[in-house]
Symmetry: C2
Subunit: 527 residues, 2 copies
């Protein structure tokens, strides 16, 4: 693999780069070649201007061109072969089977969006034909559909070097909507990012589309802010920490012309264990829960980080099972030393909290040279939890906190104190759930996805998925970053009034040449 | 009519009010009885808390309850009879036929949203059935729909005392989505606001719904900001000036948990006159244009405030026709003295601009005692326009500016310099439009609604309407404040994973008991 160590601005390697950095292999501590150059501010400007120019020249092309681009990107990523997986493994410490699955998800996602674009009904076409004889005033002919916003900035996430990085869900959905993309590469996997960026550039050439539809820039906060503040940018997609996401949101909101920021900033994903379920299958729940909160070494935004149960015999019997499962869990290499240090700092802070007790840690000792995180579980009472809201901070890594309440009402009070979440999960038998109506109703107000008798890690890419939630889980609870609805983030309606047939886009023409499902006279139809 | 001169907090008159003010009749200058009390900060707090409580107890009711509420509101507003129109006329100076039409629009809007809620498919229900045998991993059962956000603040607009005020489009769409509403009354028509608020309160009683679903507060900027910053508020809808809308947006974005603000802040709504159209029907265009920019004394957010034409014989012949039509136009009472003073200040500033010439003013002199505005039209060259971007500021009132370019390319350059707009209009023959492809493509990027051979004033309330546009026309170009799609502003998706049938809301149950159009296995169907 030929890595240049440069940004890629509209298909061309960056030339005026800034600071130099190396990726580190977290499993060995070794610096990886080559060195990478951060982008310069003029390069950021060039990337966004190229995106704006490409948008103007390409946005009125048939949507088939976009579908082919997405499919060609998938093929070009697959054509990178094992070299992509090897580089991703070296940069992230993630195991090869996981990365193989993530590549399949990434390419499947691109092809799914191609299918959505090709089918086309996502543009929500609406036609109100003219009513020239209506009293007291005639109605004009009105036709409305969604069109692309314009250039979008995408921030690669550390924990999904393929599926939520350079050609991940944000890029796929933005391109599907018809928006050019400028990706700010995550500095933990610059080589993986460049390989995928080269694949996208090749796909653009193969499809005969403007190179400006995609750029990749390397850099830190200054580059990120310059990108978000660029006058020609129209939206931002981000997956990462609340601090970084909030900073981008604030920068976008204070622009002369504010733009939307879709920042997915994760949370603690509360999980409730109801008594009869614990009695019936406590051992299975202990195993499932440890599997979920240690999956990916606890570095999923949907990790269940807060477990609620009411004090009872079943809970007393469950805690030793949970402790045993944690003790048996393996340590794992975390994505970066920064994440490891933050995990240990949070664990150290938690250990100082009055009334909070370590329930178990993995028997295996973490290997510092391999940047390992050690699975741990602590517990506390609901009354302690209610007094110390700082306990609900996310600990990114293989840790979860059990909160034991004296009554269902006390757990409801804890739930009321929670901020917005991506997910909330309840384990219960039919009888348990019958008695949990208030809890389920409250959780609808707190989270974007509710699960019964499952685990929140594992996010399906499908039409009915919603990966989002009230602040601070995301900056915009009305949109999802996973699933086919994700492209709705990057579009806005436009209405054509009394347009001659010849000037209407195909989606709104009388004959329905694209065979879309449309709302005609307020009735959904393909006619 | 029994006016209390108080806020209405969850059905009860405010008691701890602040400063006292009177409405003024702009057509006479007379102060109108009774005095009105501004709300106190504790009353704002009580209103939002009552809304949050009412939301929790009512949001899981059948949607039929919401549809009935909207219809009952319409009936109660109609039952106010002529007294409502008389008060509105006294407070706004708007003529009775206009107010009669606006009441019909307001009640029609409420009934239209009732129909949308009753039909129900707006919740965008999506079902991905479980695939237990899928390899490498089974797919869980996923079901997604839109649910209400929570309490919404609505700011009444001065220029639509019924259709965009207390029971206007924002309130109707928020209640339709299932959100409680706290309206901040516009201080120019407090009596009209109270009458409508009492009608809503009666409708809630008649429908057996919690009084907290609606409150009305009087007050100025301090009350507005307290409302927007209230922790239990979840969204804001506003129609008014860029200064006020931007202040609310900034306050909402800087909350610990930011909330969406849908501020419609209008613009200059450019209108392009192409040569052949001017040649063929210059006189008709002059009449239509003057009718549009003086409609409602130029106080519509869709007023065409900027007219572009290329210098040619047809334009030379058109300008005298336009001037004659303006001279013949009547003066009209503006909504408030503040609006009159701002209009005169803008006119005075415009008259100082080098290279800008008054083309005509109405022959009739404005009557200061009747708070009248005098129709005026000025003209300038495209090169002057490009040098002085401050010319594009909206002048709220009966004024429009004609910009004459030397070439179509110069008008394209002017168009590129424009900010986002609600509307853009092109008058042209088929031949004109054939040559205007670049202009039309550019206007799609600048505006939310494009019109051919029409006038942008007059906004249809229908499924295909889009009343919105890129910043600064609105703070969120992705949503409309007029038409059935307006309720999408106040909802967010929620996803249920592996929920037992008994716990699913009716919209997502297997049997489709509500007969909704749903996306099942990625296919739209009522089955």
């Amino acid at each position: 693999m030929n890595l240049l160590g440069r940004s890629l601005i509209a298909g061309k390697p960056g030339t005026t780069g800034g600071a130099v950095f190396h990726a580190l292999n977290p499993a060995t501590g070794a610096a990886l070649e080559p060195a990478f150059c951060e982008a310069s501010l003029p390069e950021v400007d060039a990337a966004v201007h190229a995106a704006a120019d490409a948008f103007e020249t390409s946005r009125l092309q048939p949507t088939e061109a976009r579908a082919r681009l997405l499919e060609t990107m998938a093929a070009e990523i697959e054509a990178l072969g094992d070299a992509l997986l090897a580089r991703a493994q070296a940069e992230t410490g993630l195991p090869l089977p996981r990365l193989t699955g993530e590549r399949a998800r990434t390419c499947g996602q691109l092809r799914l969006f191609a299918a959505v674009v090709r089918e086309g009904s996502w543009v929500d076409a609406r036609i109100d034909p003219a009513l020239p004889d209506r009293q007291p005033l005639p109605r004009p002919d009105l036709r409305r559909m969604l069109i692309a916003l314009g250039p979008v900035a995408v921030f690669g996430a550390s924990n999904f070097p393929l599926a939520f990085s350079v050609a991940g869900g944000d890029t796929a959905s933005a391109l599907a909507a018809g928006c050019p993309v400028v990706v700010k590469a995550h500095p933990a996997h610059p080589g993986t990012s460049e390989l995928v960026a080269q694949a996208i550039a090749r796909a653009l050439v193969a499809c005969g589309l403007p190179a400006g539809l995609f750029s990749l820039v390397h850099g830190g906060p200054a580059i990120a802010l310059a990108l978000v503040r660029h006058p020609a940018l129209t939206a931002v997609a981000f997956t990462g920490s609340p601090a970084a996401g909030s900073a981008l949101f604030a920068a976008a909101a204070s622009r002369p012309h504010p733009i939307p920021v879709f920042a997915e900033m994760s949370g603690v994903n509360p999980l409730y264990l109801l008594p009869e379920a614990l009695r019936e299958r406590g051992a299975a729940i202990a195993a499932g829960l440890v599997g979920s909160f240690t999956l990916g070494v606890g570095q999923f935004c949907t990790k269940p980080g807060l477990i609620f149960a009411v004090r009872c015999e079943a809970t007393d019997a469950f805690l030793p099972l949970l402790a045993a499962a944690v003790r048996a869990a393996p340590c794992g290499t975390l994505l970066t030393r920064g994440i490891r240090d933050a995990f240990e700092a949070t664990q150290s802070a938690i250990s100082q909290v009055q009334g909070l007790t370590l329930l178990a840690a993995a028997d295996a000792a973490p290997d510092a040279g391999r940047t390992e995180g050690q699975p741990r579980v602590a517990w506390t009472t609901a009354s302690t939890f209610l007094r110390q809201p700082e306990l609900v901070r996310e600990s990114f890594g293989p840790f979860t906190l059990v909160v034991i309440g004296d009554s269902p009402e006390e757990l409801l009070a804890c739930t009321r104190a929670l901020d917005g979440q991506l997910t909330a999960t309840v384990h219960g038998t039919a009888k348990d759930l019958d008695a949990a109506g208030s809890l389920l109703a409250l959780l609808e107000q707190k989270a974007g996805r509710l699960l019964i008798n499952g685990y929140p890690t594992g996010v399906e890419v499908s039409p009915a998925m919603h990966h989002g939630g009230p602040s601070p889980a995301t900056t915009d609870a009305r949109f999802t970053s996973v699933g086919t609805a994700a492209l709705l983030r990057f579009a806005r309606p436009i209405c054509y009034q009394n347009f001659p047939a010849a000037l209407l886009p195909p989606a709104l023409q009388d004959g329905n040449p694209l065979r879309l499902m449309r709302l005609v006279n307020n009735v959904l139809t393909r006619d």
